[in-house]
């Protein structure tokens, strides 16, 4: 049994954060207490801090709105890596592993977990660097498959349904005006041409009025 790690994050904003308890039910946490301990499933605390800091440089909080830190992207990535995706359940993983042309896609043997473990070696001490230092470190690894994966996961963590651990308080959906998986636009669909029609986002669980779990939540 691995030693349990926690990610300590600071609750900000009037609405507070949605966090996930050990039983994986969501809980809204307001400004009190000011710091939270989120149980980690895959990363150590140091790794989580490095990934959170890197995701926050890829998708920063700035004058165009909140970023990966606010959306809890690192929580999403931690859960994905701990689950079946991290173990490469969604790929064909029979040998032999041979190099091929790029049109045949990723032929690598490494699982997402292994790609992160390897990639994180190049992000040691990352959370302690200033922003300029962090950016230049990321530029060094821009071409690596790890960085491509981290960027993809950052986007996923920004815009997933909150049940997956990211997009806290639907902050990513608010940024892009995505209303969530609503059931009908029958009356609106051919109206509002050229004018933004923006609804407050709803998660799938909110729309259905009952908890919804990811398909592979407890599977392998």
């Amino acid at each position: 049994m691995r030693r349990r790690h926690f990610l300590t994050i600071t609750a900000t904003g009037a609405g507070g954060f949605l966090v996930y308890r050990l039983d994986r039910s969501p809980q809204r946490v307001h400004a009190q207490p000011r710091t939270l301990k989120v149980p980690l499933r895959f990363f150590s605390e140091a790794q989580a801090l490095a990934v959170a800091a890197a995701a926050a440089r890829i998708f920063p909080a700035d004058d165009s709105g909140p970023g990966a830190g606010d959306a809890g992207v690192v929580i999403y990535i931690d859960r994905q890596l701990a689950g079946p995706y991290g173990a490469d359940r969604y790929r064909y993983t029979r040998a032999p592993f041979l190099d091929g042309p790029p049109e045949l896609g990723n032929q690598g043997k490494a699982t997402p977990r292994e790609i992160y473990r390897e990639g994180l070696k190049r992000l040691e001490g990352f959370a302690d660097l200033d922003e300029a230092g962090q950016d230049s470190r990321l530029k060094e690894i821009e071409a690596a498959p790890f960085f491509a994966l981290l960027k993809r996961h950052t986007i996923e963590g920004m815009f997933c349904d909150p049940m997956h651990g990211g997009n806290l308080d639907k902050i990513g959906w608010q940024l892009i005006g995505f209303p969530g998986p609503r059931m009908t636009y029958h009356e609106e669909v051919d109206q509002h041409h050229g004018k933004p029609l923006r609804y407050p986002p709803l998660s799938l669980g909110e729309i259905l009025g009952r908890p919804v779990k990811p398909v592979d939540e407890d599977g392998e």
């Binding site: 045949l104 998986p181 050229g194």
Partner: protein, 572 residues
């Protein structure tokens, strides 16, 4: 191996064609029909919980488990084939309903010319115009023969659209280049969303003939001739890669299963993985499969229907040793030849000033133009043959897949500047796509892979496939047309398609794979006759797009349904 009591008919595969055959045959015979499907059971209510982009659109939970079985691909016979390790250019279905549960619903008829492609091209341009290595064939049937079955299938689906050719009368607003229909579509066209309206108006100004995409998402409540009622589309945007949670999109589970359940002679056996068609003494004797407990089971039957999707049909015949495998070096054999996909390209990405509200929509809610389809336009002075349709569809933008698509002027790919640009353009991006025909070539074919296996140790199917200059030039020509249209739509910036190079197994191009067990007029050049009966094994039938001699630009589902209904008349 456990041996079960003999059935009248056993069907391998519980998707569109297998369940449609079961539905049609159940009314024609009292014999017991057993449908064996490798995936699990499904129902409309399941799809409420599935409106989740990550699990369903990104992780492809509606598709076959790729870790259990995939295909290998190489560009030519001189290359070493490697497995497709993650879903890319197409999405194999699995589970009851198959890929028919997660399709978009775009439902074209093929043109009359498509069925007699080789004859018509040679007559108009001479056989010297055919590309080198070209292996196109006539289908062995004509449009007039299939037309009544198209109508049957369209009524069953409740297809929405607008006729452009009613018994030879051309009608503005429909596709005037289509073959003659006897009747108007069962339901009116889908509503037109903003992006599609811009496309419609711009193409009309440029002299094209825009029409609403034919859609299997009914535009209003509809009851079909089987007395199956479905709701009208709500435009939620969860069609492609999802099951429809209100049943407005025609799916095998909502169109076929209600009828099958009324019969007492059809048994559906999910979670049962067919490994072989068993043949003895020149007759099919049944299928062997692995059931959900892992036990090997033999289901004997008087007749066998292979309906397991295009690639799986070819693979199961190869694994079962039925027919003569095709050899691209000598041209001998028929099983595995004429593998085609579809020239499916994002011809132009267009970036607009105004927001588009792209989260709304439906998989087939769009507008198309067929002015450059098939042989509608003269190819005498063009460097390619064939064509297709340009279209825009408002399928419902999902954030993970579409965030970060940026105009050529944006040079950063992460950080503050990138984020600002991505946020700005996210809901201002539209795509003009092109679906074009893919001719068959002698070098594009299938056989069994010598190295890689599935979870049961059976060899994977090996695809040898690459584009030829005909497709590359067609793509280039259509890209230029799409850019003109995007400009006429008022796009501020445009990214043209970069060009077809080698076949790219990582870019999604539609699950429209054809060939391998092709139909035709002669056993020398085809695997099944025009009623889908195997030329050598007279009680074996093969259904699906594996029977197409080549791809005629449009999406294949509607034609497979029509051909299945026609075949059912000869099966019993």
């Amino acid at each position: 191996m456990k041996r079960l009591p003999e059935a009248g008919i056993v069907v391998a595969g519980g998707g569109w064609t297998g369940l449609l055959a079961a539905k049609e045959l159940a009314t024609r015979t009292t014999d017991r029909i057993v449908v064996v499907e490798r995936g699990g059971a499904r129902k409309t209510a399941d799809y409420l919980d599935d409106m989740d982009e990550l699990d369903f659109a990104i992780r492809n939970r509606m598709s076959q488990e790729i870790r259990d079985e995939t295909v290998t691909i190489r560009h030519s016979t001189g290359d070493r084939a490697l497995p497709v390790r993650q879903y890319g250019s197409f999405l194999n279905g699995a589970g009851v309903g198959g890929a028919g549960e997660q399709w978009s619903g775009i439902s074209f008829r093929y043109t009359p010319e498509a069925f007699e492609l080789r004859t018509r091209i040679e007559a108009r341009y001479g056989s010297k115009r055919l590309p080198e290595d070209c292996a196109i064939q006539d289908w062995g049937i004509t449009y007039d023969e299939i037309e009544p079955y198209y109508w049957h299938a369209e009524q069953m689906l409740g297809l929405s659209g607008k006729a452009g050719n009613l018994r030879g009368r051309r009608i503005a607003g429909g596709n005037i280049f289509e073959g003659p229909r006897r009747f108007e579509y069962p339901t009116p066209p889908m509503k037109t969303l903003y992006l599609a309206a811009m496309f419609r108006d711009a193409t009309a100004r440029l002299g094209y003939h825009p029409y609403p995409l034919p859609a299997a998402t009914t535009s209003q409540p509809y009851t079909n001739p089987d007395r199956v009622s479905r709701a009208g589309c709500a435009y939620c945007g969860y069609c492609e890669r999802f099951g429809c949670m209100i049943g407005a999109k025609a799916q095998p589970t909502n169109v076929l299963m209600p009828v099958i359940r009324r019969r007492n002679n059809v048994e559906l056996r999910p979670r049962s993985w067919v490994r072989r068609i068993v043949v003895e003494g020149g007759r099919a004797r049944g299928v062997s499969y692995i059931d959900e407990t892992g036990a090997e089971v033999f289901q004997p039957a008087a007749k066998v229907i292979l309906a397991s999707w295009a690639l799986n049909n070819t693979r199961l015949l190869l694994l079962s040793g039925i027919g003569e495998p095709y050899d691209p070096a000598t041209g001998k054999g028929t099983l595995g030849k004429n593998l085609t996909h579809q020239v499916s390209i994002p011809a132009a990405m267009a970036f607009f000033n105004d927001p588009l509200n792209r989260y709304m929509g439906a998989g087939a809610a769009g507008i198309a133009v067929s002015d450059y389809d098939g042989d509608v336009f003269d190819h005498a002075s063009l460097p390619f043959l064939g064509g297709g349709f340009l279209y825009t569809v408002c399928y419902g933008f999902r954030p993970m897949a579409n965030f970060g698509v940026l105009p050529p002027g944006v040079k950063t790919s992460w950080g503050s500047e990138w984020k600002k640009a991505a946020l700005h353009w996210y809901d201002r991006t539209g795509r003009i796509s092109f679906y074009g025909e893919h001719m068959a070539y002698r070098g594009n074919s299938m056989d069994l892979d010598p190295t890689y296996t599935d979870r049961h140790g059976d060899p994977l199917l090996r695809l040898t496939i690459d584009w030829r200059d005909n497709e590359r030039r067609m793509a280039e020509f259509m890209t230029a047309k799409a850019v003109e249209i995007a400009r006429a739509m008022g796009a501020r910036e445009i990214t043209p398609f970069a060009g077809l190079k080698r076949y790219d197994a990582t870019r999604y191009q539609g699950t429209h794979i054809q060939g391998g067990t092709i139909m035709g007029a002669s056993p020398a050049t085809s695997v099944v006759n025009t009623h889908m009966r195997h030329w050598q094994i007279e009680n074996l039938f093969v259904l699906g797009a594996s029977t197409y001699p080549q791809n005629p630009s449009g999406n294949p589902t509607l034609t497979t349904l029509a051909l299945t209904i026609r075949a059912a008349e000869k099966i019993v």
